[in-house]
């Protein structure tokens, strides 16, 4: 494990917050895309 010195909490917090935000955004984008694709497919099937 690399040594982060006395600022370990700060650095980890920064990386953690960024990871949460980015992964949240990616997850939301992908999920919304899948939802839209399913809804559209259903609509196009029905006519």
């Amino acid at each position: 494990m690399i040594d982060l010195g006395k600022y370990a909490g700060t650095v980890l917090a920064a990386y953690g917050v960024s990871a949460v935000l980015l992964i949240g955004l990616i997850w939301q984008s992908v999920a919304a895309n899948a939802r839209a694709r399913r809804a559209l497919e259903k609509q196009e099937e029905n006519g």
């Binding site: 040594d3 982060l4 010195g5 370990a8 700060t10 650095v11 990386y15 980015l22 955004l25 839209a36």
Partner: protein, 241 residues
């Protein structure tokens, strides 16, 4: 074939579908690579381990501004050339820009705690970013509030135009209001102020990664918007019939 034809929704779906896997792969490699590499860089003699935050903070800050510029351009394309996909791309980009701004703000705030001894200072740069965040929120809220898509595209386009002018104006007003603590652009080529190569190359890589990540996300989100619009359009046609 002119570049404008890419704005045709069907063509856009086809070509974006083709390049998307490559962009996603590139984004994953560069972002994860850049950020990891940055995380593993040695400590700075002055700032200690906190320099590692720069590999998130600076790319996010850069993208936060670039995305707004991209939205301005696509809004103008919509307002002038009426390319529907371009309007939807602006809509799709806004939440990404807002998250980037938020990352820059939050990593900055976390960084400020050890460096300046407080979470937040009304430094001009920080303040300008807060204002940019407000503009993003207003833009997103307007898209959400207007039901008719044509009106929504037009109104948000006008808002983006006016907002850009005022975002710039606010930046100068804020500079007048308070001289700050934040360091200047250390990526500038002014000799002597440059970052050492240990930090510079991972920073470049993660900036590229954030750019690709943005591209991948805009493509995905624009495709989502197109599908949603198509669904609504088909339903509207049925309801009319």
């Amino acid at each position: 074939m002119s570049i404008w034809e890419y704005a045709n929704p069907v063509k856009f779906m086809r070509s974006s579908g083709a390049i998307l896997p490559w962009v996603v792969a590139g984004a994953a490699v560069c972002t994860i690579g850049g950020v990891l590499w940055g995380f593993l860089t040695p400590q700075d003699y002055k700032q200690g381990a906190t320099v590692k935050i720069v590999f998130l903070h600076v790319p996010a800050a850069m993208m936060a501004i670039n995305i707004w510029v991209m939205m301005l351009v696509t809004s103008l394309i919509w307002l002038i050339r009426r390319h529907h996909v371009s309007a939807l791309a602006a809509k799709a980009a806004a939440p990404i820009g807002a998250v980037m701004t938020l990352i820059a703000l939050m990593t900055g705030a976390i960084w400020g705690q050890p460096m300046w001894g407080s979470w937040w200072e009304w430094d001009p740069r920080l303040t300008s970013f807060l204002i940019l965040f407000l503009f993003y929120i207003g833009y997103i809220a307007l898209w959400a509030a207007v039901e008719d898509p044509d009106s929504a595209a037009d109104l948000t386009g006008v808002l983006c135009l006016v907002g850009s002018v005022f975002a710039l104006l606010s930046r100068y007003a804020v500079l007048f209001w308070n001289q700050g603590l934040h360091q200047g652009a250390s990526l500038s080529v002014a000799p002597g102020e440059r970052m050492s190569a240990v930090y510079r190359y991972p920073l470049y890589l993660s900036m590229l990664g954030f750019l690709l990540l943005f591209l991948a996300l805009v493509l995905i989100r624009t495709r989502t918007e197109i599908r949603k619009r198509r669904l609504v359009a088909l339903q509207a046609r049925e309801a009319r019939a």
